[in-house]
């Protein structure tokens, strides 16, 4: 039985979870030892947030909710950090967002 720390966050980014936001999310997820997964619904399917190919293939759209869960030593920090990145709109200013 895996013990998950979960959260959810609405994607505000104009083009959704596309190329550059996906890269940032993946890079951040990789900095944690925990298993980190994301999904488009609370029921899954859950995908590995450290896999750039899978994250990009998810094609999460603007205004959709992203569900996050993690398990392992730094799970809570991982979920907080990833939710924060999405909330901050992937730390991009508007000028760049259109090309993401």
């Amino acid at each position: 039985m895996t013990d998950w720390t979960s959260s959810s966050v609405v994607i505000r980014h104009k083009v959704g979870l596309h190329a550059r936001p996906s890269v940032k999310l993946t890079q951040l997820a990789k900095t944690f030892a925990a298993t980190v997964q994301i999904a488009g619904t609370p029921e899954g399917p859950w995908i590995d947030a450290k896999s750039i190919v899978k994250v990009m293939a998810m094609k999460a759209k603007q205004d959709s909710t992203l569900y996050l869960r993690a398990s392992g030593g730094d799970a809570a920090a991982a979920v907080t950090a990833l939710a924060g990145l999405v909330e901050r709109d992937f730390d991009e200013d508007r000028a760049h967002a259109a090309s993401g």
Binding site: A19, R20, V23, T26, Q27, K30, T31, K50, S51, I52, V53, M56
Partner: protein, 130 residues
């Protein structure tokens, strides 16, 4: 940044190679050793073993180097270049069977997270039709 796998982009066109490298830098950042080359020895479209060897050297990392190529000649010339490396380096270079632009971004993302050469290759090749 030599603790990350290096990425080399080899295209028939220097413009495609440079543009692909720009995308990698903008999307993935500058934590990954990255080099690119394109064009034949006379500056026309094509690939050049000498330029590929130089790019491998520029992007060299002890963790290895992953090469992304476009059309056939780029792969043939890259394989030739790998064979001309010192025996010690040969085993640390892979040519990824992946589309050049997408493969470079995916490979660099994996490399930026500290992935091994095999992780980087597998990530780039996840994109290839089976």
């Amino acid at each position: 940044m030599k603790d990350k796998v290096g990425i080399v982009i080899v295209s028939h066109s220097i413009d495609v190679a440079r543009g692909t490298a720009d995308m990698v830098r903008q999307m993935v950042g500058d934590t990954v050793p990255l080099a690119y080359c394109g064009g034949n020895p006379e500056g026309g479209l094509g690939t050049d073993v000498a330029k590929i060897l130089k790019a491998i050297d520029e992007a060299w990392s002890d963790k290895g180097v992953a090469i992304l190529v476009d059309l056939g000649g780029a792969e043939t010339n890259s394989e030739m270049a790998v064979e001309l490396l010192d025996a010690g380096r040969q085993g640390k270079v892979v040519i990824c069977n992946a589309p050049i632009v997408e493969g470079a971004v995916m490979a660099a993302t994996e490399a930026s997270g500290g992935g091994s050469l095999e992780d980087v290759r597998r990530t780039a090749e996840e994109l290839s039709p089976q």
